[in-house]
Subunit: 134 residues, 2 copies
């Protein structure tokens, strides 16, 4: 058997609502559910981005039977850009929103990634799918 | 602008090679690149699962300009099952491989998730896409 897709990608933030607003406002994700101080769930195409406060989710007593988890420190995720033209539109979008780029990487073969930080300090990348041959 | 897809999902493991073998052997992911003690990159359909040793990636001196990141504690991710029949095939696959289920959740509406742990302690879920209306 092969898993065909990742349905939920998770990052952590001490203030999930602030992080959720960032992903909604900057990346256009659709907020599906939010519980103050605990989590925000957002839709990104056919996938979900779940943002949890690790102080809440790592406590089994507050998980209603759902297995506990919760990490601290900067996480990382990467959004897909179809091509270099879309990446350039994202660069303009971020500049217009006053969000500094931390780094730009030109990979072997010429496809590119740009990097920024979310309000919780997670490393956010936007990459041309070609960097993985996808 | 809207981000259309998450290209890279990240989890952390002190032994990324051991975790990588687990995702390759149990979930059928394709190993794309591996550097001992640092990372394993695996393909899952049109997405990538990146497994990093946070002790390595959080050190800017070893990142060659790529922004540092690295979290500790149990993370979480969820693979997509198309329907309940696929979820049942995963349950049988896990039982055959001797991997205990930590929990089964029946969500409102009847769609289900099953939960297990990877070798690094991350919480791995397999869920019917219907739990998110996807």
């Amino acid at each position: 058997m092969k898993a065909g897709a990742i349905l939920e990608t998770v990052i952590y933030a001490a203030d999930p609502q602030a992080a959720g607003r960032f992903y909604r406002d900057i990346f256009g994700l659709e907020e599906v559910r939010s519980v103050e101080g605990r989590f925000v769930f957002l839709r990104c195409g056919g996938q979900m981005l779940l943002i949890f406060n690790p102080e809440a989710t790592r406590d089994p007593a507050h998980q209603n039977g759902i297995p506990a988890h919760g990490a601290t420190g900067a996480g990382h995720l990467c959004f897909r850009a179809e091509d270099g033209a879309e990446l350039d539109r994202w660069r303009a979008r971020l500049a217009g929103a006053g969000i500094p780029l931390e780094h730009e990487q030109i990979w072997k073969g010429g496809a590119r990634s740009i990097y920024l930080r979310d309000p919780a300090g997670n490393s956010v990348e936007i990459a041309e799918a070609a960097i993985w041959g996808l």
